[in-house]
């Protein structure tokens, strides 16, 4: 399903990279939050040039809704092929909404070590924060109804696309 109101993911990614270029430390590690953020971190590392090591984080073991929803079906392995302690880190996610995933990711990172600094880059900021978390770099800002979620998909050719789906738990009447 595509939605006419949504920006083009590839163009938005270019805008995000433009904002990060020159602003992000040359040796900052890019850590993508599984799964959309992981695709973006890989792409951004290529687009930014420099010496950006890439890692991936799956925050399932740190989510605050575990008691309510249990463990997700598929949990990916967090892979951080560098020292987190002392590193400058940019967390990368596709859509920033409540801020809860970012909170979980920051908590998980500190179990690997004490980073020198953490910044946050997101493709889409849709507002609706429930925690005091603000992104450092934003591709585009959008307003979306509460009962919809924005989903980033990757096509077999590697192209990224945004779509809208009914939010989990929203009434489908």
């Amino acid at each position: 399903m595509t939605d006419a109101g949504l920006p083009n993911a590839e163009i938005t990614l270019g805008q995000l990279a433009d904002k990060m270029r020159g602003a992000v430390a040359f040796d900052a590690k890019l850590i993508g939050i599984h799964s959309g953020g992981a695709w973006l971190a890989e792409r951004l590392a290529k687009m930014l040039g420099g010496e950006h090591a890439v890692g991936f984080i799956d925050v399932s073991f740190y989510r605050d809704d575990y008691a309510k929803k249990g463990l997700r079906q598929k949990v990916a392995t967090t892979t951080l092929p560098f020292e987190v302690g002392g590193s400058r880190i940019v967390l990368v996610d596709d859509v920033l909404y409540t801020g809860r995933s970012v909170r979980a990711a920051i908590n998980e990172l500190f179990d690997y070590g004490r980073p020198e600094a953490i910044e946050l880059a997101v493709l889409i900021d849709r507002g609706g924060r429930e925690l005091p978390i603000e992104p450092t770099y934003v591709g585009a800002r959008l307003t979306v109804a509460r009962d919809l979620s924005i989903v980033l998909q990757r096509h077999p050719d590697g192209n990224l696309e945004l779509s809208v789906e009914p939010a989990e738990g929203a009434s489908r009447a």
Binding site: D58, Y62, G85
Partner: protein
């Protein structure tokens, strides 16, 4: 009939046996254990999933490895862990099993890990909890009588999958004292459910259960024939302490016929792996040169066991009681 391990939504509520457990649920446990393996390599070897939960290790029968790995698994999930060695406490004062459970529930238990000499004890506890409207408390079978040892079966499956990837082309030989082995029973059930090409049991007639063929295995009494072309060799401990009567001439005679030596292992595939659930008797069922040799994955089994038990407890504790 509904599987008593699953709730109304088909989610895993208790882990009592691998028998009849759907392949998707086994695969989900194995998949979930993968990210838990890497937690052991971090600075902080803990995740907050079971923070505030209390896990009771109820061991009515002795065990060091299983109890310790459950304890480490629960602690790495941030649970509080209480170890009870019941063999030497309440029951010797006459308390019944279910009274012991009710007392521990009154202390706000969330998960019971149960090892019991009687087959079916964990099942009885799970039934008691459901019947008394306490289905939010979970039971994990850590070995019951000769019946089953599902987390050991799962860690064996995890180990095999780790080294061999796929079950559908594998030949697995389980060698030795199958009669007394709940480990063998659970592993056979798991291997069959996941579609293993061939499962063999190898041992003397006196140490194989009657009609073991009905579990879908091929029976070999000659170890050399049984090992030929195998991808995986699982050695079982000779459980002399459970043997009543003369099932064997002597340990020396047993080793001669059913002990795994480098010479016999040559009959298996060149990249075969050798497993053992421990504790092993060197020189009885396995030669030291093999136990410490390049084919041995006996110590990785222990490490994987922690991750698999973390996966089981985190899936159970996150499942919702039936509405």
């Amino acid at each position: 009939m509904r599987n008593p391990q699953l709730n109304g939504d088909g989610e895993l509520q208790h882990l009592l046996t691998l028998e009849g457990l759907p392949p998707e649920i086994i695969a989900r446990i194995l998949d979930t254990a993968v990210p838990f393996v890497s937690i052991a390599e971090r600075d902080v070897k803990k995740v907050p999933l079971l923070r505030g939960k209390t896990v009771f290790n109820l061991f009515f029968e002795n065990s060091t490895r299983t109890r310790t790995t459950f304890e480490i698994a629960a602690k790495r999930l941030s649970a509080d862990v209480i170890n009870l060695n019941i063999g030497v406490s309440s029951t010797s004062k006459g308390e019944t099993l279910l009274d012991t459970i009710d007392n521990l529930v009154a202390m706000n238990a969330d998960v019971f890990v149960v090892r019991h000499g009687q087959s079916g004890a964990p099942h009885l506890i799970a039934q008691h909890l459901s019947a008394t409207d306490r289905a939010h408390i979970h039971v994990v079978n850590a070995g019951d009588g000769r019946h089953g040892h599902p987390t050991q079966g799962l860690l064996d499956l995890f180990t095999i999958r780790h080294y061999k990837r796929d079950f559908k082309d594998l030949t697995v030989a389980i060698v030795g004292d199958v009669l007394h082995s709940r480990v063998a029973r659970s592993l056979i059930q798991g291997l069959t459910t996941l579609g293993t090409a061939e499962v063999r049991v190898v041992g003397p007639q006196t140490l194989l259960p009657t009609a073991v063929e009905s579990m879908g295995v091929h029976v070999f009494h000659d170890m050399r024939a049984g090992l030929a072309g195998c991808d995986v060799v699982v050695m079982l401990r000779l459980q002399s302490e459970r043997m009543k009567g003369a099932l064997l001439p002597s340990a020396g005679e047993y080793f001669k016929h059913y002990g795994l030596t480098a010479d016999k292992l040559k009959l298996a595939k060149p990249d075969a792996i050798v497993m053992h659930p421990g504790p092993m008797n060197r020189g009885v069922e396995i030669d030291s040169a093999v136990a410490d040799g390049e084919h041995s994955v006996i110590l990785p089994q222990v490490t994987f066991g922690i991750a698999v038990r973390m996966a089981v407890m985190s899936i159970l504790a996150g499942s919702q009681p039936p509405a």
